[in-house]
C-alpha cells in the first residue's frame, strides 16, 4: 500500500476573475521508504500540493480530491486537531527559505527546545533541561552541525542558510516522521551545503526508513537523488515513473523539453547558438488554457489538446498526453 496516495487533487481559489484552479487533478503516490521527486517550473503548483498535504493552506484555498490518503487515513476528513496531531509526528515538512522559516526573534536553541517531543521523556523534572539539551545536541550532530553551542545561542539571521536548513531538518526529525516533504530545500543554499543536505536525506531514507517527497526544479538533483519522479506543468501532472526510465525515454513533450533544456557542456555548442527551450512562457493564473495546459507552447499540439488528456500507463510509466513521444529516440 502506498504511504501517500493522492488521486485527482485540485486546489482552487477565488479571485475577482472567478474561481481559479491552480492545481488541476494531480496524481501522486509514494511507497514506504521511497524518495519521490516532484519536478516542475516555478509556478507549476508543486508547493501548493505540498502545503495541501500538510494542511497549512489558509482559507482562501479550496482543496478537493478523490483520494488524499496517508497510510490509509483520509486527510481531508480529519478534524483540525487530528490533522495537527498527524503533522509533525508522522509527516514533516522542510521549507524553501530556511532562515525565514525560523522565528527571527528567538534563539535557535530556544526554538529547538520547543520542538522536542516530550512524551518520551522519562526523566525527572529537575533533569529535564539537561535531557533536552542532550537531545538537541544529538539531533544537531545527526544533521551534521558540530558546533552546537554556537548555533544554539544564535539568532536565525546570524546563521547561514545551509545551517538553518539543517536546523529545520533537525527539528523535523525530532519526532521521527515517516514522511518528509522537502519543498525546494536547497534552492537558496550554497553548493557545498547542498550536497550535505542531500546526503542527509539519503541517510534518513536508508537508515531511518523515511520516505521523502522532494520538490525541486533542478533536474540534476532529481537525476542523482530520487528513485521515481512526477513531473508537473502548470498545475497538472504530466508524467510520472521511475527516474531512470523517464530520463532515458520521456514520453511527454514537456518532459522532453525539460531534459533538452539541460545544457551539456561536454558537447560543442555553436558560438552564440540558442539554448533549447519551449517557446512562450508559463500562462498566468487568470488565463489558463483549457484542456492540456501545455497546449499553446507544445510543438506537437493539435486541436484535440483542448480536452484534458487521460492518464495512460505503460510499464509503470504514467503520462497524460494525446500525442506522446513513444516512438521517439532518446533525448540528446
Amino acid at each position: 500500500m502506498p504511504l501517500l496516495d493522492i488521486r485527482n487533487l485540485s486546489i482552487e481559489f477565488d479571485s475577482p476573475h472567478g474561481r481559479i484552479r491552480a492545481v488541476d487533478r494531480v496524481n501522486l503516490s509514494i511507497n514506504p521508504g521511497e524518495i519521490l521527486g516532484l519536478v516542475g517550473e516555478s509556478g507549476s503548483g508543486k508547493s501548493l500540493v505540498a502545503k495541501a498535504i500538510m494542511g497549512i493552506l489558509n482559507e482562501r484555498w479550496h482543496v478537493s480530491a478523490d483520494r488524499l490518503r496517508y497510510n490509509g487515513i483520509d486527510l481531508l476528513s480529519l478534524s483540525a486537531k487530528e490533522r495537527r496531531k498527524l503533522m509533525g509526528r508522522e509527516i514533516a515538512m522542510v521549507f524553501q527559505e530556511p532562515k525565514s522559516s525560523l522565528d527571527p526573534n528567538d534563539t535557535v536553541g530556544h526554538q529547538l527546545h520547543e520542538s522536542l517531543p516530550m512524551d518520551e521523556c522519562d526523566v525527572s523534572f529537575f533533569r529535564r533541561k539537561k535531557w533536552r539539551t542532550q537531545q538537541i545536541k544529538a539531533l544537531l550532530h545527526q544533521v551534521g552541525i558540530r558546533d552546537h553551542e554556537q548555533v544554539m545561542k544564535s539568532y536565525p539571521h546570524e546563521l547561514s542558510e545551509g545551517v538553518c536548513q539543517k536546523v529545520m531538518i533537525a527539528m523535523t526529525i525530532a519526532y521521527k516522521p515517516r514522511l518528509l516533504i522537502a519543498d525546494e530545500p536547497t534552492t537558496v543554499i550554497e553548493a557545498g551545503a547542498q550536497a550535505q543536505i542531500f546526503k542527509l536525506f539519503r541517510k534518513l531514507n536508508q537508515l531511518n526508513d523515511v520516505s521523502i517527497l522532494l520538490i525541486t526544479h533542478d533536474l540534476e538533483h532529481i537525476e542523482n537523488w530520487t528513485e521515481s519522479i512526477t513531473v508537473m506543468y502548470c498545475g497538472q501532472t504530466v508524467e510520472s515513473g521511475i527516474t531512470k526510465q523517464i530520463f532515458e525515454q520521456p514520453y511527454h513533450p514537456y518532459t522532453m523539453a525539460l531534459l533538452q533544456s539541460m545544457p551539456h557542456f561536454d558537447e560543442k555548442l555553436g558560438h552564440k547558438s540558442q539554448l533549447t527551450a519551449l517557446s512562450g512562457c508559463v500562462p498566468s493564473l487568470q488565463h489558463l488554457p483549457i484542456g492540456c495546459r501545455l497546449g499553446p507552447r507544445c510543438p506537437r499540439a493539435h486541436r484535440q489538446c483542448v480536452q484534458v488528456p487521460q492518464m495512460q500507463e505503460s510499464h509503470g510509466h504514467y503520462f497524460s498526453c494525446h500525442f506522446p513521444l513513444i516512438d521517439q529516440q532518446e533525448p540528446s
Binding site: 500538510m54 482559507e59 525565514s100 527571527p104 526573534n105 539568532y155 539571521h157
Partner: protein
C-alpha cells in the same frame, strides 16, 4: 544596545532644541512686544526691563536670545500668565497631572479593548468577526470626539442624570492635592469619607475617559489587526503549523510577541492625535487639564501661556516617543536585519 540608547537620547536633545527654535520663531511672530510675550510681564518697570534684558539677552543677537530662551525654560522659568499673573510653571504643575491622568486611563482602556479585538479580527480573516471588528473600528474612528462628548453629556448627564458633567471632583470634597492624581490623592489623604470621594471621582472620570478612549481604541484595533495579520502570514508561522503546534501556541508565543514591535512603533505615532482629542475632551467636560488651560489662553490671547503649553505638549510627545523607542530596542535585542523581509 547602549550605543543605540545614547544615540536616541542625542536625537531627543536635538529634536527638543529644534522644537524650542520653532516656538522661539513663533513668539517673534506674535503681535505685541517680544519681551512682554516672553515673560508675561505686561507693563514692565525699568527695573524689570533691565532684569529681562539680562535674563533673555534681549539686546544681543537672536542666537543669544534663543540660547537664553532655552536656558530660562529649562530652569523652570516660564514667565507669568497675562490673565492670572501667576507663574506659569506653577500652573503647569497643577494642570499637567490632570491631563496625564485622563490620557493614561483612556490609553489603558483603549489598549484593553483594542488589543483583544484586533487579535480576534486577525486570526479569523474574512469571517464575520473580522468584518464586525473592522466595521466598528471604522465607525468609531469617524465619530468626532466633540460630538461624542456633547452627546454623552446630553444623554447620560442631563437626560438620565446618571453622571456629573463637569470637573474632576464635586466641590464638596476637599482632597489635598499631593500628586495631582485624584484617585491617588484620595488614597493618600486621611479623609473620613474616602469611599464617597472615590465614588465621586470615579463618576467624574467615566465619561471623559470613555469619550477620549474611543478613537485610540479604534486605532489600536486596526494597528493590532494589521500587524498580527502580517505576522501570521510569515513563513515561520507556516513552519510552526507544519510541526503541528496548536493555533493558540503559535499566536501567543510567536506571532504576538513579534507583532508587538510594529504595533508599538505605530502607536507612538498616534500620540499627537491622542493629545488633540484630550484637549477637546477637556474643554467639553471642563476638565482642569493642560488642554483646557491652553484653549482658554488662546481665547484670551495669553501668549506666554500659549507658548509654554506648546512646549510642554510637544515636549511630552517627543519624550514619550523616545521612551517607546528605547523600550522597543531594549525588548528586541537582536533586531531582524533589514534584508530579512521575505514572506
Amino acid at each position: 544596545m547602549w550605543f543605540f540608547i545614547i544615540r536616541r537620547f542625542n536625537l531627543f536633545i536635538l529634536t527638543v532644541a529644534i522644537l524650542y527654535f520653532l516656538v522661539f520663531l513663533m513668539m517673534q511672530a506674535l503681535p505685541g512686544d517680544f519681551a512682554t510675550n516672553i515673560s508675561g510681564i505686561q507693563h514692565p518697570t525699568s527695573g524689570q526691563l533691565s532684569e529681562l534684558n539680562n535674563a533673555y539677552q534681549l539686546d544681543k543677537s537672536w542666537f543669544n536670545q534663543y540660547i537664553s530662551f532655552i536656558d530660562q525654560r529649562i530652569h523652570g522659568e516660564f514667565g507669568v500668565s497675562f490673565t492670572t499673573a501667576q507663574p506659569i510653571w506653577q500652573e503647569i504643575l497643577t494642570f499637567l497631572p490632570a491631563t496625564i491622568e485622563l490620557c493614561l486611563y483612556a490609553t489603558t482602556i483603549a489598549l484593553l479593548i483594542g488589543f483583544p479585538l484586533g487579535i480576534i479580527a486577525a486570526v479569523q480573516p474574512q469571517k464575520p468577526a473580522d468584518f464586525t471588528v473592522l466595521g466598528l473600528s471604522l465607525v468609531g474612528y469617524s465619530i468626532p470626539v466633540f460630538w461624542l462628548g456633547v452627546s454623552a453629556i446630553m444623554y447620560f448627564g442631563l437626560e438620565l442624570q446618571w453622571l456629573p458633567v463637569a470637573g474632576r471632583l464635586n466641590l464638596l470634597y476637599q482632597v489635598p492635592p499631593i500628586t495631582g492624581f485624584t484617585l491617588i490623592d484620595i488614597w493618600l489623604s486621611d479623609l473620613q469619607y474616602k469611599q464617597l470621594a472615590y465614588r465621586d471621582a470615579f463618576a467624574h472620570l467615566i465619561m471623559p475617559t470613555l469619550t477620549l478612549a474611543l478613537i485610540p481604541a479604534t486605532m489600536v484595533t486596526r494597528i493590532t489587526r494589521t500587524a498580527v495579520r502580517e505576522e501570521l502570514n510569515a513563513n515561520y508561522i507556516k513552519a510552526f503549523q507544519s510541526r503541528g503546534l496548536s493555533p493558540s501556541t503559535i499566536i501567543y508565543r510567536h506571532a504576538l510577541p513579534n507583532a508587538l514591535q510594529p504595533i508599538l512603533s505605530q502607536l507612538s505615532l498616534q500620540l499627537s492625535t491622542l493629545l488633540t482629542s484630550a484637549m477637546v475632551t477637556e474643554v467639553i467636560f471642563s476638565w482642569p487639564g493642560i488642554g483646557n488651560w491652553l484653549i482658554d489662553a488662546i481665547y484670551q490671547r495669553d501668549y506666554p501661556v500659549i507658548s509654554a503649553g506648546i512646549l510642554i505638549c510637544a515636549g511630552f510627545i517627543i519624550l514619550v516617543s523616545v521612551l517607546t523607542d528605547i523600550m522597543l530596542i531594549a525588548t528586541t535585542p537582536k533586531r531582524r536585519s533589514a534584508v530579512d523581509g521575505s514572506r
